[in-house]
């Protein structure tokens, strides 16, 4: 996909102001100030606050910003969902492919604009692969004879050409479902494709496959395409994942409901200050070299670019450790000095029935978790991670084997007995929140476990304070942001004073700042309170930074249980299990490879890479454990390496970890 400015803009937004409340008295677009202290979590009133934006025709544009900052809202103006479907209060002009999107109905815009949302389950309407892909063309009244080639081509484009077309969508994996959603949208032959966090609900393999689809759509002009269509001219994607964002050629940063920066992707993603101001994660590789003190023009974007840059400089790679040496702790300082066993799972088997067969979700798994540990459980969707985790507090009873908690069989304990000691935070906080106030919601668990009076009040206050929601006790949890609701869910478990918390996908849907705040809070509870943590997650950067030990599940079996640093050194195993390396791991493995250090163990964080390149001393790494900002000056005495072709001499300070 060429980004040709001469071809004009595919979409133009002028002075767009939007609030979800109907009948709001909207201020003029030019009356909104760029508020540096603006917090989307606290915001009321307009979500879009005077948007002026041009999306270059033919570009792959990525939009980023804080959660609640208006990205998804903005995306919904491209196909008239706002203001035609979600009416609210709207002002401004939106021109999309020559159509006035403020005066069109959504089904009319569907002829030229395709949209893919995060929740793939909510976008599947058919009972077979074929009917799913045919649904859009049927809606557009495409003659049945012309739908056949569209189905063939759309499935081919998304890599599902070989799929049994009679299969029901619910029988597919998460990645396949999202690709099927793409196929359904592609079959409508849109000129503009808008994608709202299309990978955030997917496992690493599903994300990888979906990104391949996006890549192929961005480049599609293949011979097999129908004569009347060569793929979407323009793609606009909202994402929180900075590594995904690097696929784009044009980037837009939103802050406070306004366009804060826009331009060529390389220009935007090397502007560290702008990224931090917009609460967007700095690309880890950029962060590394920015901390070392390289100038903005010199900053590499990807691990491959970084390796070349290092080879061309006077920097040398020193890994944090080698095989056989004592392993350094996690960047967050978690899980040190584990104590006695808390959980002992022995030969756990769990099966469930489908309409065709019995499926063994967990197959003969042994697992011991010790006091004070932080253990990550990773694997594909359907690998048995969550099913295994639910054995820990008796939510599911095994068909064979035993689960023991402090030596006692979990099946002999009541839910009340084990539930108080073992808290379980579900992936979606909306699956538990029901009360009118945060106080009532957080009190629910401890009350059920018999706590009352002053003890209850103290437990609730401490829990709310721990998750930094104090002052909001009487707020309605349904009005909070996703990050805040996630913290309410955590507080409601903390208030029961558990010894262990099991997290199911703790960071899904959170932006970079929310994710780091949430996980730093969990890390602090582990370091300071000795809280044992088991987390089921797809986020390999969370695993690298917070979990010293990782269990890998595949097809219901435990295929690995190793120190995380050793696991990330085994690139062939990671490839076999389709687990992606976070950028700092990838970069340090590459650097070890080119410098012939076969027995090197990888860095797990930006700070460790900086240190390995001689850009920092240990204090920078230690600062991470406290969640504090780590600063690195470009000072030769401090170890900052300059490029042989002329490094920057600009002093730099940088924020906390951004991965």
């Amino acid at each position: 996909m060429d980004n040709d400015p001469a071809s004009g803009d595919a979409a133009t937004l002028e002075e767009v102001v939007f609030a979800y409340e109907r009948g709001s008295d909207l201020p003029p677009a030019d009356s909104f100030a760029d508020d540096a202290d603006y917090d989307p979590d606290e915001r009321g009133g307009p979500v879009l606050r005077g948007i002026d934006l041009g999306v270059p025709a033919g570009s792959f544009t990525v939009m980023m910003g804080a959660s609640g900052g208006g990205k998804s809202t903005l995306l919904r103006t491209f196909n008239s969902i706002i203001p035609s479907f979600l009416t609210g209060s709207f002002d401004g002009n939106v021109d999309v492919l020559g159509r006035d999107a403020t005066d069109a109905r959504v089904p009319e815009m569907a002829e030229v604009v395709g949209m893919v949302l995060q929740d793939y389950e909510a976008q599947l309407f058919g009972t077979s692969v074929t009917s799913e892909v045919a649904f859009g063309p049927e809606n557009l009244a495409v003659p049945p004879a012309d739908i056949d080639p569209r189905i063939d081509h759309a499935l081919e484009v998304v890599g599902l050409g070989d799929l049994d077309r009679r299969r029901p969508p619910e029988a597919l994996s998460g990645g396949q479902k999202q690709r099927l959603v793409f196929a359904g949208v592609v079959a409508n032959h849109p000129e503009l494709l808008v994608l709202d966090e299309p990978t955030s609900d997917l496992d690493p393999a599903g994300s990888h496959d979906t990104l391949e689809v996006i890549r192929s759509l961005a480049d599609s002009d293949e011979a097999s395409a129908p004569e009347d269509w060569r793929g979407p001219e323009t793609i606009v994607m909202v994402t929180h994942d900075i590594e995904e964002a690097l696929l784009a050629d044009h980037a837009v940063l939103l802050r406070a409901g306004q366009v804060y920066r826009q331009g060529p992707a390389r220009e935007v993603f090397t502007d560290v200050e702008a990224l931090r101001n917009a609460r967007v994660a700095v690309p880890p590789v950029v962060d590394v070299f920015d901390r070392i003190g390289w100038s903005r023009e010199e900053l590499p974007l990807t691990p491959a670019e970084a390796v070349t840059a290092v080879e061309d400089s006077d920097l040398a790679w020193t890994p944090p450790a080698h095989r056989g040496e004592t392993l350094p702790g996690t960047p967050a300082g978690t899980g040190e000095n584990p104590g006695d066993p808390l959980f002992e799972l022995d030969g756990i088997v769990y099966e469930y029935e489908t309409d065709r067969e019995s499926v063994r979700a967990v197959d003969d798994v042994d697992l011991t978790v010790r006091e004070g540990e932080v253990v990550a459980i990773v694997g594909h969707n359907g690998s048995g991670k969550t099913t295994l985790a639910k054995q820990l507090n008796g939510l599911l009873e095994p068909d064979a084997g035993s689960a023991r908690w402090r030596g006692q069989d979990v099946s002999e304990l009541s839910m009340g007995e084990v539930g108080r000691s073992v808290g379980y935070v579900f992936q979606n906080p909306d699956h538990q929140i029901f009360a009118d106030t945060i106080r009532e919601e957080v009190s629910f668990g401890p009350e059920n476990f018999g706590m009352e009076g002053d003890a209850l009040e103290r437990a609730v206050s401490e829990a709310v304070e721990t998750v930094e929601l104090d002052g909001l006790e009487e707020a309605d949890p349904f009005n909070l942001s996703k990050g805040q609701r996630q913290r309410v869910a955590l507080a409601s478990i903390l208030a029961t004073d558990p010894d262990v918390i099991v997290f199911d996908e703790p960071t899904t849907g959170l932006d970079a700042t929310q994710r780091d705040q949430f996980m730093d809070l969990v890390a602090r509870l582990n370091r300071e309170e000795g809280l044992t943590v088991v987390m089921v997650t797809h986020s390999m950067r969370t695993v690298a930074r917070y979990a010293p030990r990782t269990v890998v599940m595949a097809d219901g079996r435990k295929v690995a249980d190793r120190p995380t640093r050793e696991l990330f050194a085994d690139e062939s195993a990671l490839e076999q299990w389709e687990l992606q390396q976070p950028q700092p791991v990838d970069l340090s493995n590459r650097l070890a490879g080119v410098s012939g250090q076969e027995d090197a163990l990888p860095a797990l964080s930006v700070a460790e890479v900086v240190q390995g390149l001689g850009g920092s001393d240990a204090s920078s790494v230690n600062a991470e454990a406290g969640g504090e900002e780590a600063g690195v000056r470009n000072d030769p005495d401090y170890g900052g390496g300059g490029r042989t072709d002329g490094g920057s001499d600009t002093g730099q300070t940088s924020g906390g970890e951004n991965e």
Partner: protein, 261 residues
């Protein structure tokens, strides 16, 4: 949202291959048969035939999912219906609260079987008919497309709704919540922590689904095409005729006095 299997079971059976309209005709035939007769033996025949067919087409898992409801309705009906029946025949049971005559027993058994037959028949239909076929079938019978699509979507979302409810139940159980209580008011109150998240999640999902639908071009106002039009072949005509024969035959026999208690 967790993945939940739909009620449709993808198999290549005689019933699966039929047009949705002929299946509807057959279903109407079965429903009329179980409705007009009251004798449990006469109701049992179509009930047993429907249940056996459900097993043959791979619907056992679907039946298991609803077996609690079927059993509950059957037993509650069996306990309640005698109160609405005219007593007659020998007394089978005598208690301080009242008596149970043979006629009351047969009446209650017939009515409970009727309810079970309705559920099993409906289950057989959705087990062998995909949403698209249901929608297309209803539409060809003259129902408005928007209504047909709403029915199809409701059928598809029902299992998803159950999956979501199960997750909520687990989330609240993990916080020590137990459903039930000392009196009916407490029992009802204990459902609040389950119902609110279920409905809030459903409402959020419905809005996303509605947005996704329109973004795919779904429009109740404009024209649309149907890609997979099922032919209505000779077998369908034969099955529809059989359904009609069931209707006519059962009404005729009932008018002749057969199948009553």
């Amino acid at each position: 949202m967790s993945s939940s299997p739909s009620l449709y079971v993808d198999r290549d059976t005689f019933l699966h291959r039929l047009n949705a309209r002929s299946k509807l005709a057959l279903l109407v035939g079965v429903f009329v048969t179980v409705y007009v007769f009251g004798d449990p033996l006469w109701v049992f025949v179509p009930l047993a035939a429907t249940f056996a067919t459900l097993l043959l087409v791979g619907g056992w898992a679907n039946f298991k999912r609803l077996s609690f409801i079927v059993a509950a309705l059957f037993l509650v009906g069996f306990a309640v219906w005698p109160a609405f029946a005219e007593s007659g025949g020998p007394v089978l049971l005598e208690t301080p609260l009242g008596t149970l005559t043979e006629r009351e027993l047969l009446f209650a058994l017939g009515r409970s079987e009727r309810i079970a037959a309705f559920i099993v028949g409906g289950l057989l239909f959705v087990t062998t008919t995909s949403n698209e076929e249901i929608v297309a079938g209803m539409r060809s019978l003259g129902f408005p497309y928007a209504f047909c699509f709403a029915v199809g979507t409701a059928l598809r979302l029902f299992p998803t709704f159950l999956g979501s409810a199960n997750t909520v139940r687990q989330a609240q159980a993990a916080r020590g919540h137990e459903v039930g209580g000392g009196n009916p008011v407490e029992t009802l109150r204990s459902y609040i922590p389950l119902l609110i998240p279920v409905f809030m999640t459903a409402i959020r999902n419905v809005q996303t689904q509605a947005m996704a639908l329109e973004a795919r071009g779904f429009d109740t106002r404009g024209d649309r095409t149907f890609y997979d039009r099922q032919p209505f072949g000779p077998t369908d005509w034969a099955v529809a005729a059989f359904g009609l024969a069931l209707v006519v035959g059962s009404i005729y026999l009932r008018l002749q006095g057969y199948g009553t208690v």
